[in-house]
Amino acid sequence: MAGQVRKKVDTKQIDKIIKSYDKSEESLLAILQDFQRSFQYVPEEGMKRLSKYMGVPESKIYAMGTFYKALSLTPRGRHTCKVCMGTACHLKGAGQILETIERELKVKRNSTTEDQRFTVESVNCVGACAMAPVVVVDEDYSGHVRQSKVMDILDKYK
């Protein structure tokens, strides 16, 4: 699969995730999401094993992997920095905040820094509009973010 970085993954962990669900197509998305949480991406080996277990073609699982935004087929950085691009955030200058992060971390949106420290993503509304503009690092929300202060937030994550 193109673009897939080959990396050793824990196959035991993969099987553990798969077996914790019913053998039903309904569980496919949930399993892929658990892969994502566990490995920070969906490993090729995971898709292969899932395909075999469920008796579903690999191509179908690959299609899901590329369709859903929550799934990534390439490894991510240690931290995920999501800049909310919802309407309220957009009006309050989220674009400029994202540009600042891109400039300071020397990274383009929706990609990972060279040192694997951050994956920077623009996301469409995290549902915290009253605190716009919002930046979410891993699971931590920061509201009323100012362009001149955003790097102070990111500095806390090594």
């Binding site: 039903s24 197509e25 309904e26 569980s27 496919l28 998305l29 949930a30 892929l32 999401q33 179908k60 299609a63 899901m64 369709f67 859903y68 935004k69 929550a70 799934l71 691009m85 919802g86 309407t87 309220a88 957009h90 009006l91 309050k92 200058g93 400029q96 540009e99 600042t100 400039r103 996301v123 469409n124 509304c125 995290v126 549902g127 915290a128 509009c129 009253a130 605190m131 716009a132 699971e139 931590d140 929300y141 920061s142 509201g143 100012r146 362009q147 001149s148």
Partner: protein, 618 residues
């Protein structure tokens, strides 16, 4: 907990927990919504716990302490409410806690610096229900949020929870549907389809299996009421779905929740487990012989999955692509079985409609839009957050009375409603009543209830470009008008905002709008032109200024603006020159500074750091 197997047992249990409650116990309610948690509510709750123990008092005996769902006024979090006194403290820090305990819990005084202060009148108000943000609200869908602990089923039962279900289970399914029809409840997710009619059509289809589903894939940017309900009052959604399941004849329900809402998933899962243990879910609900259960499914972060047919494909474990509109999901929905899909807020209204009756519910709202609606009032307005008001309130009342007017005393320009499928309504039209039909007639739509307020510094062409950009990303790519039409529109809008617009662009955009509206496969595509349509309709001159004069009147579009420093305001503090990433601001200390426009990348850092409002955009 032993499962409750009869209505009498449920009432007995309710009386028992009511009796165990201490009357008029001074209590602290701490908002644990996502906003307040981000602002440090967890540390505040810990501080209360610690302080109460330190004073030799006991939680639940001398002082009540609980964490609740979102109060909606997220802007001012962490929020702390005192009962029975009805006092609201804003932006509470852990260091404020000892003073609150001593002054307001052990004694009867107010901590003045933590209460609400009106930005316009400078008046201070301590009472929760007297603050303009809450005063004009009528909370039905949000009735329990902020009052109950979402993790406690007892708390929900104390607030008359599962009473509506008990009543519904004594009724005939057809009578329940008739009641929902009579209430006039229309779908809160955007479409506004009458809920009762949907239920009746589903029940009428001959089938051995039926499903009910809850759409919690709240994707409209600028709306977060469903998140708040799922997080803050999960049992109301569950109770509504059980009633719906019984009415249409379904044994299985599904809740599809956005992946971005981890707290909602957590609270729903806990609530489902409790509801099962209490006998509200599972085999023979409340001993009536009706079997029903609910599964949670996490979405995968695809906006199109909020569209009903795409959501069902996603629930089945497939790629979430929509299908043609002529197949109705009440006939062939999930797994091709008759299905009812309603939004979170719709389900949350069902239990009280059952409990208080259709007439009571229909007494609120307008002729065509009954009841109340939750709006997320956000953007350039003083009081931002979630508000629930009767349908028919005007845009102006929302913005000025509840919202407290425009931020920083700027001019009110427009509101955007309905998310990416909606449109903009200009200030001149803001005496428009907010209900399903009036908004549609004005070229926008209700959508899920996002009301995004825009001021004079908002560029309407940029707003249109923003929404089309959003839809380009979220289009699933199945049908041509949406897949190819949207990028084409985005290109034209980008050209206009970059100063490359040409005569005829507006006409081309209007033509593309028509093609999308009439030829796209699903609701997402057919409404995708609304943001462009409505901004051209009301703000044509702003488009023309970009195209003809190469000017952005609101000062937003980068290619059409320049930054400079107002020498009369600049104090020469040097802050901007230190922060400028290009190093293109020069000047002596205590002398006016100058921006070298040839090197300026218009990043806006100087304007953000300037404390004297000396950076000008032209």
């Amino acid at each position: 907990m032993k499962a409750i197997t009869s209505f009498e047992q449920l009432e007995g249990y309710r009386e028992k927990i009511k009796a165990s409650q201490k009357k008029d116990l001074p209590s602290v309610l701490i908002c644990f919504g996502t906003g307040c948690q981000a602002n440090g509510a967890v540390a505040v709750a810990d501080a209360f716990q610690e302080e109460i123990v330190k004073k030799g008092l006991k939680v639940g005996v001398n002082i009540g302490l609980k964490t609740t769902g979102c109060h909606g006024y997220c802007e001012n979090g962490p929020l702390v409410v005192l009962r029975p006194k009805d006092v609201l403290y804003l932006k509470v820090k852990p260091k404020d806690v000892p003073e609150i305990v001593e002054k307001s819990l052990q004694n009867d005084t107010i901590v003045e610096r933590l209460i609400y202060k009106d930005v316009n009148t400078k008046e201070t108000i301590a009472a929760y229900h007297e603050i303009p943000f809450y005063k004009y609200q009528k909370r039905i869908a949000l009735r329990n949020i902020g009052n109950v602990d979402p993790k406690s089923i007892d708390d929900y039962i104390l607030s008359d929870g599962y009473k509506g279900l008990a009543k519904a289970l004594t009724m005939k399914p057809d009578d329940i549907i008739a009641e929902v029809e009579k209430s006039g409840l229309r779908g809160r997710g955007g479409g506004g389809f009458p809920a009762g009619t949907k239920w009746r059509s589903c029940r009428a289809v001959d089938s051995d299996v039926r499903y009910v589903m809850c759409n919690g894939d709240e994707g409209d940017p600028g709306a977060f009421m469903d998140r708040s309900i799922m997080e803050g009052d999960p049992h109301s959604v569950i109770e509504g779905m059980i009633i719906g399941g019984y009415a249409v004849g379904a044994k299985q329900g599904y809740i599809y929740v956005r992946d971005e809402y981890p707290l909602a998933v957590k609270n729903l899962q806990a609530a489902l487990a409790d509801a099962r243990a209490f006998g509200f879910l599972g085999k023979s609900v409340l001993g009536t012989g009706f079997d029903f259960d609910i599964k949670i499914s996490r979405g995968g972060g695809a906006f199109v999955c909020g569209e009903s047919s795409a959501l069902m494909r996603s629930l089945e474990g497939k790629v979430g692509e929509p299908r043609a509109k002529y197949i109705r999901s009440v006939e062939k929905g999930l797994y091709d079985k008759p299905s009812v899909l309603n939004n979170v807020e719709t389900w949350g209204n069902i239990p009280v409609i059952m409990q208080n009756g259709a007439e009571w519910y229909a007494s609120f709202g307008t002729k065509g839009s009954k009841g109340t609606k939750v709006f997320s009032l956000v953007g350039k307005v003083n009081n931002t957050g979630l508000v629930e008001v009767p349908m028919g309130i005007t845009v102006r009342e929302l913005v000025e009375k509840i919202g407290g007017g425009i931020l920083g005393g700027k001019k009110f320009k427009a509101v955007q409603t309905g998310g990416p499928s909606g449109g903009c309504i200009p200030e001149a039209e803001s005496d428009l009543p907010v209900d399903f039909d009036s908004l549609t007639a004005a070229g926008s739509m209700m959508g899920s209830g996002g009301i995004i307020v825009m001021d004079e510094n908002t560029c309407m062409v940029d707003v249109a470009k923003y929404f089309i950009g959003f839809l380009v990303e979220e289009s699933c790519g199945k049908c041509t008008p949406c897949r190819d039409g949207l990028p084409r529109m985005h290109k034209i809008l980008s050209d206009i905002t970059e100063g490359n617009g040409k005569e005829g662009d507006i006409a081309t955009l209007e033509e593309l709008c028509d093609v999308l509206t009439y030829a796209a496969l699903c609701g997402l595509g057919s409404s995708a032109a609304n943001p462009v349509h409505s901004t051209i309709r009301y703000f044509r001159e702003e488009y023309e200024a970009h195209i003809r004069d190469k000017k952005c009147p609101a000062g937003v579009c980068k290619s059409l603006i320049t930054y400079s420093i107002d020498a009369s305001k600049c104090t020469g503090c040097t802050l901007c020159s230190k922060k400028c990433p290009q190093g293109c601001i020069t000047g002596e200390r205590k002398q006016a500074h100058v921006i070298d426009k040839s090197k300026c990348i218009k990043c806006g850092v100087c304007k953000d750091v300037c404390n004297f409002d000396a950076v000008r955009i032209e």
